[in-house]
């Protein structure tokens, strides 16, 4: 019994040394390229971010996923790092079809041909954690949302790569050990590496159970059932387990494949504006959102609908956060920097009194330069400038706040991939206004505010 443990420890030790050498080489490259840290701030951070991304790609699936999780935490990492980690490439060669069929047989208890028709040997997509094959339903199935899927419906079979769980567990154990050591360094302690690593590990382990992704997809499909422009592949639970997720196969173009010819057949402008609104509705109304939204995870169907894929990473917003985020959003889209900063406090952004004037002035400049420029707003430019300014002023960025800024950048990226000339700020105005109106009309809020409003009206009349 002791032998496998010894072998496992040896394998872990070997992998640990491999990772250490790769990390050391990366550190040396960073030191050299940043002239031992003497390079000016923004350029230095960009260089470090690029090297960290390349390191994650070299180290494999666990680190690619950790990098992707880090890219949605602007409250912890520098803006240059999060925008660089967004571009992590998760494309690797496919595993042999035989290995995938073995996993399917182990998971479902029968040969894949006995359960599904026309299983295609060639993978339609291959990532570092899972790969996808196409087949057809052998029997009709009634999904959790929407009408029955008839026999013959094309389905996508997502299968975890064999051995991936063990590989990720080994890498996570090593990364946890490193994080524990980094925790002892006073300079790094403010990032709480060990706690952050625990949080990321829990998220990653959750992502390795594909049923979680299926449940989120069902919920999303239900919440957008009335929206004719949104489509979510429905899950076939009869053939889905921890390691296998079978869902409806939706034909369409990924946003990074969308060319002029494809755009010509759809109302791209309307779809881009609607896409932005759908994402804002997730964050500001529903309280959960697709946190891994990039052009490869969104399809545009020939009917001009948006199809959301891959719900592995989901972010959540609390009601208080949603209310404050809506107010900050209104402040930004109407160019009211003062309002945006005032409500930012409710999201936990603490600006020391002596720096308030400076922060307000710089925010106003950024808003004018990036958001109020007629014709083309540049949300990404604003976010980068704003987050860098806060970092330079040594102002801690709270989690909910970073989330808002990052979400706006994502919305802009997705909308521009559909319709490059869309002015996001102009399109967001009606939605933001409607949202604030809905917040103001809430009975609880009205009850709270009416006596005060009545008193003020009386004072004005008497005056």
């Amino acid at each position: 019994m002791a032998w496998p443990r010894v072998a496992m420890n040896e394998a872990r030790g070997r992998r640990g040394r491999q990772l250490f050498i790769a990390g050391l080489k990366c550190a040396l490259r960073i030191a050299w390229k940043t002239r031992f840290g003497l390079m000016p701030g923004h350029r230095r951070r960009c260089t470090i971010a690029r090297e960290v991304r390349l390191l994650c790609e070299r180290l494999g699936p666990a680190f690619i996923k950790l990098g992707q999780l880090a890219s949605v935490r602007p409250d912890v990492f520098a803006p240059e790092t999060i925008f660089e980690l967004e571009q992590l490439q998760d494309r690797v060669g496919a595993v042999s079809v035989g290995a995938i069929q073995t996993v399917l047989k182990q998971e479902l208890g029968a040969e894949v041909d006995a359960l599904l028709d026309d299983f295609e040997d060639e993978a339609v997509a291959a990532g570092s954690v899972a790969q996808v094959h196409r087949a057809r339903l052998a029997r009709a199935y009634r999904p959790v949302t929407g009408p029955e899927l008839p026999a013959g419906t094309p389905v996508a079979i997502k299968v975890l790569r064999p051995g991936i769980k063990a590989l990720i567990a080994t890498d996570l154990a090593i990364a946890r050990r490193w994080a524990g050591r980094l925790n002892r360094w006073r300079r790094l302690a403010r990032w709480r590496p060990a706690a952050l690593m625990e949080e990321f590990s829990a998220m990653l382990e959750r992502e390795l159970d594909l049923r979680n992704e299926g449940r989120t997809a069902d919920r999303f499909a239900r919440d957008f059932a009335a929206d004719p422009y949104v489509i979510v592949p429905r899950v076939v639970w009869r053939h889905s387990t921890r390691r296998v997720l079978v869902s409806e196969f939706v034909e369409g173009w990924r946003l990074n494949e969308l060319g002029q010819a494809e755009r010509a057949g759809i109302n791209a402008r309307r779809l881009a504006a609607h896409g932005a609104e759908v994402f804002m509705r997730q964050i500001l109304v529903l309280g959960y959102f697709h946190a891994d939204l990039h052009p490869a995870n969104l399809l545009v169907t020939p009917k001009g609908q948006l199809c959301f894929l891959d719900f592995g990473i989901v972010g959540r917003t609390s009601p208080t956060q949603r209310e404050a985020i809506a107010q900050v959003l209104v402040g930004l889209v109407y160019g009211d920097a003062d309002r945006a900063l005032r409500y930012s406090r409710e999201l936990g952004l603490v600006v020391p009194a002596e720096r308030e004037q400076g922060v307000r002035r710089e925010t106003e400049v950024l808003v004018r330069r990036h958001l109020l420029e007629p014709g083309r707003a540049d949300v990404r430019g604003f976010a980068l400038g704003f987050l860098s300014m806060l970092a330079d002023q040594r102002i801690t960025i709270p989690a909910g706040y970073g989330l808002l800024v990052k979400a706006l950048v994502t919305v802009e990226g997705v909308s521009h991939a559909i319709y490059p000339d869309l002015d996001l700020i102009k399109s967001a105005k009606p939605f933001a206004t409607g949202l604030i109106a809905a917040q103001l009309m809430q009975p609880d809020r009205l009850r709270r505010r009416l006596p005060e409003a009545g008193r003020r009206a009386l004072e004005a009349l008497l005056a």
Binding site: R211, G214, R215
Partner: protein, 113 residues
Amino acid sequence: MNQDFIKLLAAWALFHESADEGWKSAVARGQAQQPGSMGDGPEAFVQGLAALVDEEKEKLKTRLAGEGDSVEAAPGPDLSERLDTLAFELRELRGCVESLQASVDGLAARRDE
């Protein structure tokens, strides 16, 4: 005095009539707007808002009329929403059971091999 009071009421009625006509034309113009035109300026915004409010008013009228007919025949929106949520949760549970069954089948087949 009596005549003045009648005049005051007439002015009040005229004010209401003009406001009503203004409101109706704002609603009509708002209904004729293209989606997304509310951001074109203050007037467009007010007209769009008037159309939204009018639509909500019509919904409220229909709901109140329905409530008056019979409580059993037309359940309130709250009840329908709860029923819808429960039905969805039930279907979610069915999905969980089906997935568990698939896992059990997989494990049983491995044991029998």
